[in-house]
C-alpha cells in the first residue's frame, strides 16, 4: 500500500472558525439493492460487493486519483495509519470480513466498502465548511448512484443496516477543539445540552473512543423526517454557533480571570514539549492542546500553528512507526515521539 506521510485536510488551519472547529465531515450511508446488509452477507457476496464498488468508485467522475486499499491484506500498521488519518473507522479497522477503502488523492474523500453498510462515504474539509463538504459528497453520491441501484424505499428513504441511520443516511459532524470548556469544567454542560438537542458527542476517533487533546466529535443524530439541507442548516447555523461562542467565551474567561495561571499552563506545556525525552501519546496530545490554545489566544509567539496541528497526527503510534521505518516498542515509541516533537519545535 502506498500512503506517504503528508499534511492532511483535517488539520489545515485555514478553514473558517478553525480556532474551535478543526475540521468538518459529511458522511453518507448507502446500501445496494438486492444484497443483504454486510452483517448477513456471505463471503461471496462481500467479495462481489467489493468487485462492483471498485469498478465504479475508481472512476474519474467519482473523484480524480482515487486509490484502492484492500483492508484484509493491509498490515495492522497500515490499518492503524488509516484510522489515525480518520479515513476508516475503528470498527472497520478491526473487522475480519472482506472489506476495502477507496481514498481520493488529497484524502478529503474516502469510501469504505463493507463497513456496517455497503458504502460509507465521507468528505472531510478543514474548519467549518459543511455546505462545501455536502456539495462535494452529494456529487460523489450522484456519480455512484448513476451506476448502481441503491436500496431505497419511498417511505423510509435510504435503507441502512441500523435503523438509526435510515432516511437520508447522512451525518454532519465536526472535530471541535474545546480546551477552555474542559479547563473550566463546562464541557459536561455542553454534553448534556447536546443530548437534549439530539447530538452525539464522541471521542477523537468517533464512536466508542475517548476524547484526546480536548478534541470532541460532535454530530447530528436525526436522519429521517427532514431534508439534508434542513439537517445541515440546523446543525451549522443554529447549533454550532452556540458551541463555538461558548468555547470562545470560556477562553476569554481564562484570560480575564487568571491570566498568570493561563500563561503558566500554556508555557509549561510548551517547555515540556521542547525538552521532554519520553512522551506518551495522551500526554503529548494534552500538551499540544494547551499550546494550540495559547497560540489562538496570543499568549505564545514564535511557534508555528501548522506545525502544532501536524504534530497531533504525526505523534500517533502508526505514524511514528512509519517515520521510524521499523516496529517500535512502547518505550522506543515514547522516545521517538519526544524526539520528533523536540526537533519540530526547535527544543
Amino acid at each position: 500500500m502506498e500512503l506517504r506521510e503528508r499534511p492532511h485536510p483535517w488539520n489545515d488551519h485555514n478553514g473558517p472558525h478553525d480556532d474551535v472547529i478543526m475540521s468538518c465531515r459529511v458522511r453518507l450511508a448507502r446500501n445496494l439493492a438486492g444484497f443483504p446488509f454486510v452483517n448477513r452477507a456471505s463471503s461471496t457476496q462481500c467479495h462481489e460487493m467489493l468487485r462492483m464498488a471498485r469498478r465504479i468508485v475508481l472512476t474519474d467522475d467519482v473523484a480524480p486519483g482515487m486509490i484502492w486499499v484492500d483492508i484484509n491484506s493491509a498490515t495492522s500498521r497500515d490499518r492503524a495509519l488509516l484510522m489515525e488519518r480518520h479515513l476508516i473507522s475503528k470498527n472497520f479497522s478491526e473487522s475480519s470480513h472482506a472489506r476495502a477503502v477507496a481514498i481520493s488523492g488529497d484524502e478529503s474523500l474516502s469510501v469504505m466498502v463493507n463497513e456496517e453498510d455497503h458504502l460509507r462515504m465521507q468528505l472531510l474539509r478543514p474548519g467549518l465548511q459543511l455546505e462545501d463538504a455536502f456539495g462535494r459528497i452529494n456529487a460523489v453520491d450522484d456519480a455512484i448512484e448513476a451506476r448502481l441501484d441503491y436500496a431505497f424505499s419511498s417511505r423510509w428513504g435510504y435503507l441502512t443496516a441500523c435503523p438509526t441511520n435510515v432516511g437520508t443516511g447522512i451525518r454532519f459532524s465536526v472535530m471541535a477543539h474545546l480546551p477552555a470548556l474542559k479547563i473550566t469544567g463546562e464541557i459536561d454542560r455542553v454534553k448534556r445540552a447536546a443530548k437534549d438537542l439530539n447530538l452525539a458527542v464522541r471521542g477523537y476517533y468517533g464512536e466508542g473512543t475517548d476524547s484526546a487533546g480536548d478534541f470532541y466529535q460532535i454530530s447530528n443524530q436525526i436522519t429521517l423526517g427532514r431534508s439534508e439541507t434542513e439537517l445541515r442548516d440546523e446543525f451549522q447555523k443554529q447549533i454550532l454557533p452556540h458551541i463555538i461562542q461558548y468555547e470562545q467565551e470560556s477562553r476569554q474567561v481564562l484570560v480575564d480571570r487568571n491570566p498568570i495561571l493561563l500563561d503558566d499552563r500554556v508555557h509549561r506545556a510548551l517547555a515540556v514539549l521542547k525538552t521532554a525525552r519520553l512522551l506518551g501519546v495522551e500526554e503529548a496530545m494534552k500538551l499540544l492542546s494547551r499550546v494550540r490554545l495559547g497560540l489562538y489566544l496570543r499568549r505564545i509567539a514564535d511557534v508555528d500553528l501548522d506545525a502544532i496541528n501536524r504534530l497531533f497526527l504525526q505523534i500517533q503510534p502508526a505514524h511514528l512507526q512509519l517515520h521510524a521505518e521499523s516496529r517500535l516498542s512502547n518505550e522506543e515509541m515514547r522516545q521517538a515521539r519526544a524526539d520528533l516533537v523536540r526537533s519540530t519545535l526547535g527544543g
Binding site: 446500501n31 439493492a33 438486492g34 444484497f35 443483504p36 446488509f37 452483517n39 448477513r40 456471505s42 461471496t44 457476496q45 462481489e48 462492483m52 456496517e116 452529494n138 453520491d141 450522484d142 448512484e145 448513476a146 451506476r147 448502481l148 441501484d149 441503491y150 436500496a151 431505497f152 424505499s153 419511498s154 417511505r155 423510509w156 428513504g157 435510504y158 435503507l159 443496516a161 441500523c162 435503523p163 438509526t164 435510515v166 432516511g167 437520508t168 447522512i170 469544567g185 459536561d188 454542560r189 454534553k191 448534556r192 443530548k195 452525539a200 458527542v201 464522541r202 464512536e207 466508542g208 443524530q221 436525526i222 436522519t223 429521517l224 423526517g225 427532514r226 431534508s227 439534508e228 434542513e230
Partner: protein, 192 residues
C-alpha cells in the same frame, strides 16, 4: 470542580434560584446517582435503541404510529428474504437486508419514530433510478443467490457465467441521462 460531598470530580452541576438566592450543587457520579439526578449520557444511540427494543418487546405493532393495533403474536418473527430473526435484531440492533424494513415494519415504526425524534417518513434526496430498478433488483437477487450456491458447490464454470450475467445486468442499466428524463416525468419516487 469537585463534588460537594467528596473529592471526586463533579459531573452534575445544578443551579437553582430560590427567593432571589442562587444555590449551586456539584456532584460526582456516585453522589448524583444517590440524589437521583440523571447522568449525562454518552452511549451511542444504537446501543440505547437496542436496549429499548430488548426492554420493550411489546412495543411492536404500536397503535401510536400505525393507527391500528395488532396482537403481538401476529407480528412476523423472521424476515422472509434474509431469514433474520427478531431476536437477533434485538441483540445486535442491526437489520439483515433492505426487506427487513417491510418484514418488521410494525416493530420498527415506533422505534424509528422515537430514535428520529418524531420523524416517520423520508423527506430527503431520492435516487434518480428509484423508479426503474425493481426488476433489476429481483433479477440480481436471484443471480447472486445462484452464484452463492455455485461457489459453495465448487461449480466454478457456472459461477463465472453468473458473474458475467451480473456484469451485463450492470452495464445494461440505463444511462444517467435517460434516468433524468424519466425522473422528470414523475414527480414522486416509486416505492420499492
Amino acid at each position: 470542580m469537585n463534588c460537594d460531598f467528596c473529592n471526586k470530580p463533579a459531573v452534575v452541576h445544578e443551579v437553582t434560584v430560590k427567593n432571589g438566592e442562587k444555590h449551586e450543587v456539584h456532584l460526582c457520579e456516585e453522589h448524583a446517582a444517590e440524589a437521583g439526578l440523571n447522568m449525562p449520557g454518552s452511549k451511542p444511540i444504537n446501543e440505547l435503541l437496542t436496549k429499548f427494543v430488548i426492554s420493550h418487546p411489546s412495543s411492536s405493532g404500536s397503535a401510536a404510529t400505525s393507527g391500528a393495533s395488532r396482537p403481538a403474536k401476529s407480528a412476523r418473527r423472521h424476515c422472509a428474504t434474509c431469514g433474520l430473526g427478531l431476536d437477533e435484531f434485538r441483540r445486535t440492533g442491526l437489520l439483515g437486508c433492505p426487506d427487513c424494513y417491510e418484514s418488521f415494519c410494525s416493530q420498527l415504526e415506533p422505534l424509528i419514530e422515537r430514535a428520529q425524534n418524531g420523524g416517520v417518513s423520508h423527506l430527503g434526496k431520492t435516487p434518480r433510478r428509484a423508479g426503474t430498478s425493481i426488476d433489476r433488483q429481483l433479477h440480481r437477487r436471484r443471480l447472486i443467490k445462484e452464484l452463492d450456491h455455485a461457489v459453495n458447490a465448487e461449480q466454478y464454470e457456472r459461477a463465472a457465467q453468473l458473474r458475467d450475467q451480473l456484469q451485463s445486468l450492470e452495464s445494461d442499466s440505463p444511462s444517467p441521462d435517460e434516468d433524468h428524463e424519466r425522473a422528470g416525468e414523475s414527480s414522486s419516487p416509486k416505492p420499492e
